[in-house]
Every structure is written in C-alpha cells, then in structure tokens.
Symmetry: C2
C-alpha cells in the first residue's frame, strides 16, 4: 500500500478528446461552457482544443473561437494539440491563453503509425525531427515525448514491453540530439489493450531503464479495465494521468466502432481521494461538469460516477 504516490496530477483531456469524436455539430458556446466548468474544479491542466485539419476532424473546426472564448482561471494551464507546422502557428496566436510546448510522438506499433500518423516508424522519426525544428524556430520548447499503442494494437496485435522501451529510447535520443529537455513521457494505451499486468510490465520496463523520467499514463476504457489499469499505474509509481470528464472521447483512427473515451476524471479523482491520494480536484463541482457534459453530448456518457455520486454526501447524512 505504501508505494502509492501521495499526490497525483490529472491532465483533463475531455474537451479535446470529446469534441473530436462526437458527430455533432456541438455549439461553440457549449464547448466553452464545459471548459469554464472544468476550470472551477481544481484541475490544473486542461487540454481545450485541437488545431488539426477540420476536414479530418470537423468537431474542431471552431478551435480558434473556443480558445478565444473561454475564461482563463489563475493557476490553471490550458493546452492545445497539433501535429503540423500550421497547427503550431494556429496555437501560437493564443500565446496569452495557452501554455505552449511541443511533443515528440512515436508509436510502438508500426501499423498504428501508418494508420494514425500516416507514416512508417522511420518516417515518423524523420517527421519528428522537422517537427522539433519547427518548434524551436518558433521559440517553443519541446518538453514531452509520447508513445502511442504502448499496450497493443488493433492492426498488429500485442506489443512487447521491449518494443515500448526501444521506441521511447529513439524518441529520447532524438530529443537529446536536438537539445530538447524532456519533462514527461506519456505512455498511451491508444486502443484499449492495457490490462493491469501489462501496465506493470510496460511501466516496470520503462522505469527500470529511466528511473527518474516522469511518466504520464493515457488510458482508454474500451474494455472496462481503465481504472484498474490506473491503479496498477499508481502502484508502479506513475503520478500523472490523462483523463476525460464523464469518460468522453475516443480515437477516430482506431478503426473500432467501440473505441471508448479516456478513463473518467471523476472516477480517477474518486479512486485517488478515497485512497488518501491528493488530486487537488473537488469532486462535487467535477460531477457538475460531468453532468453538463452529458447534457451537451445529449446521450448517456460512460462514467458510473455521474449516477453514483460521491460518498461524502452519505457520510454527512449519516453523521447528522
């Protein structure tokens, strides 16, 4: 029990993940309302928009209007996502509202790299070299690496931990060559293949190789094991997690109609807080944001916590 972290950082990805996959169109004002609701929960990092090709991801055609429209709150970092130089330029127009940093993204599955990134692995490394140069030319630090498909792939099957270590090593070598200081490495279960034991094996292998590297776990709850996998991540010393309010989201390129959202932020907060791990997030306003998300998306969202609610309300009642 004692190897659990005492504090966990949660990176809220609900707006970016959620609005990218909904058939929509969802009004810009609703997207802004959800971001503002999330800003009031104690979350300190919120990914608010995706600067991607609106022909490929029509849900983010209004990225500029959303980023211009939300009300920034002191102490909260707002992030964007982009993959191209033009996306970076679009983000840079909001230097005053967004915390802007670059990421080196690789895939542990060559097949997923071709599907999701449109390049084979060697091509992706070459593209990342140019990507880093574009960021550096714009004065933007590259501080993250991200390994996609780290636990398995719908196109190529199981992914060995050694493969995650080798592609991460290549990404970190590229970062070092190009003078980037990497602050965090994200290990992503892009297609919902993680199990608790796979998390232990992959995170264990990565931490053995790079004990001081700060890891982020990005989990999709495609098969109901998301929170159990997060627990394994916690036990392995991971202290930063991506999550999405109400469990929204899903990868549009996973070739899978059941592609599910990230683990639900409120379930992760509940897991942590009830086990004595501080998140800085207040559950009740977060549940209000999740309820708002359900209203905006217009359908029942995956999070059980939306209906289950927190325990403190029962404790207060019981103590009365």
């Amino acid at each position: 029990m004692t190897d659990l972290p005492t504090r966990v950082d949660i990176q809220e990805e609900g707006p970016r993940e959620g609005f990218q996959i909904e058939p929509g169109p969802i009004p810009t004002a609703d997207k802004i309302a959800l971001i503002d609701a999330l800003s009031a929960t104690g979350l300190r990092r919120i990914q608010v928009a995706s600067f991607v090709n609106p022909k490929l991801v029509p849900g983010w055609a209004d990225a500029e209007a959303v980023v211009a429209g939300f009300t920034p709150r002191a102490g909260v970092e707002y992030h964007g996502l982009w993959f191209s130089p033009s996306g970076l330029q679009r983000a840079l127009a909001f230097r005053d509202r967004l915390t802007i940093f670059g990421s080196i993204t690789v895939s542990a599955s060559e097949a997923f790299s071709r599907q999701n990134l449109n390049r084979d692995h060697a091509g992706q490394l070459e593209a990342m070299r140019k990507h880093v140069a574009a960021h550096q030319a714009a004065g933007v630090p590259v501080t993250r690496v991200s390994v996609q498909a780290a636990f398995g792939c719908n196109f190529s099957g199981d992914v060995p931990a050694a493969r995650v270590v080798s592609v991460l090593a290549e990404a970190l070598a590229l970062a070092e060559e190009t003078g980037c200081t990497i602050e965090r490495a994200s290990i992503a279960d892009s297609m919902g293949w993680a199990t608790p034991l796979r998390v232990e094996r992959v995170i264990g292998a990565v931490r053995e190789r790079w004990p001081a590297l700060k890891l982020v776990l990005h989990l999709h709850d495609t098969r109901g094991l998301g929170i159990a996998c997060a627990l394994s991540g916690l036990r392995m010393g991971v202290s930063t997690f991506d999550a999405a309010v109400a469990g929204v989201g899903g990868c549009p390129f996973a070739a899978h109609p059941g592609a599910a959202g990230n683990i639900a932020t409120e379930e992760l907060v509940f897991l942590c807080e009830e086990m004595g791990i501080e998140t800085g997030v207040k559950l009740e306003p977060l549940l209000e944001a999740a309820t708002l998300a359900e209203r905006i998306f217009g359908r029942r969202l995956p999070s059980a916590m939306i209906r289950g609610g927190g325990l403190d309300r029962h404790r207060v009642h019981a103590a009365a």
Copy 2:
C-alpha cells in the same frame, strides 16, 4: 504478480439481479432466453431466479415459470434466492433443476439491516436461527454466510473492517451452533462503497482471522471502481466472484437512484483471462449473451466490453 490465483470461479447473478430491478415487465420467454444463453458460455453457477414477495419485487412474480422453462445444461449449477420459509418452499418445488442450499445473511451496518432486512442486527441473528432451522427441517444444507454492506453504507457511512470481522464471527458461530458446514463466505459491497484499499483492508482482516475460509466477493460498480476492486480481491487471494452479465442489476433497497449493477461478467472474464487466470468461460458467447441482455433490457447497459469486444479477434486479424 505471483500471488494471483490460477483459476477463478464466477457466480453469474445477472438474471436474478437484473430482472429484480428493471421496471419491466420483461416477458418470461426473454428471461429464459438469457439464462439459456448464459448456460452456453462455460459459466458453472447461474443464479436464475428470486423467490421473493412479488408485491415487493414484481420483476420476479414469474419465478416459477422461469425456473420451469430454462433448459438445464450438464455441469452447470442453477441457484435461486429466497429469504423466507415460503420462498424456500417455492424453491424446493424445483429440486430437480436447482442446486438448493441456504445462506446465513447478516449486515455489517445496522442501519442497512433495518432497511434491507427489516430487522436490527440482533433481530437478524434471531431470524437467521429460525431460517437455519427451517432449512434443516426441509433437509436443505446451509453452506454459505453472507455479510452485506461490508465496505460502507448509504445510511450509516463508513464500515470498519473490524465490524465485518465481528458480524462474520457471529454468523459463523451461529452456523457452528446449529451444525452447519460453511463452504463459502460472501463479502458484499451492497452499496458501492468499496475501493481497492478498502478491499485489501477488509479481505486482509477476514483472511487473517480465517485463513482457510473460502471467500466470495460481491461488488457493485456504482462508482466505476468495481473491476479495480475485483483486482484487489484477486491479489488478496479471493478466487470466487459474483458478477452479472452486461453489468445489470442493483439493489432496490439501497435508497439510491444511482445504484448500479454488479461488475460485468465479461469484464471480469476479460480481466482474468488476459492476465492468465483461467475462468472456464468463453468470452465470445458471453458477449453474445450480453448483447442479448441489452436487447431484452431495451437500453444501453453499463458494460464497456459489449462495445469494446475481445482482443482475440484483433490478434487473429493481425496474424493473418
């Protein structure tokens, strides 16, 4: 990793749990079809009906017709549930189709005992003494004890592990006095208060006191932690779990509109099989049964696996 069991027994409670809480009415033929579908999955224990007061639980007014109607399969035990002598008599009419045994049920929360069992704790122990006598008079062995509200209570708040140990001790003492041989003790999270650490604490305390007692964990996924709690149970050496196909069910007496079903059988099977723990259950026919349940219930059910599907189909595709 190595303290995980090599084999897990799953007790399917979907029919009993699910049909008790749906507003319905659900046609008897649909209930029978779901039981028959579950019989073909490799599950070896299925709770098929509840012989309770149809005024309180109208969804089980047709218990006799359901039990008379399903097609028993060799190697599968079919169970019923009852709380009164008249319920026992109704079950006994099906000695040829049901495996009939009695349970001593107590609650770790006095408040939940009053709500769910209609008696305080002392009254419940007295009632259980008569309950055992009624079973023995009918020649039915009493082989289980069950502790409800073992992790917390909507009416009285947190439940200490020591309280679970003390009520279980009383139930086991009653069993011994009355000459019952207890084969399994069920520890039930009746209202969705379990967290992975609470499971470790409660199961740890119980196993320390009774190292040889075979435990069953009964978990409701009210707040999204059900499978993570099951994982903690596995790590603590629990090798029998209740689960419900598609995650159906919920306690009608929990005074909670968000009362959720059991953990989904297919998510538990997936968790176990992908970690190398044998369940004897075949995932694909189980997913078909879950899809049938969703059709019968006429709404989107909680299980993510219904949409996510298994991994073997992707592995086959990847290997082709």
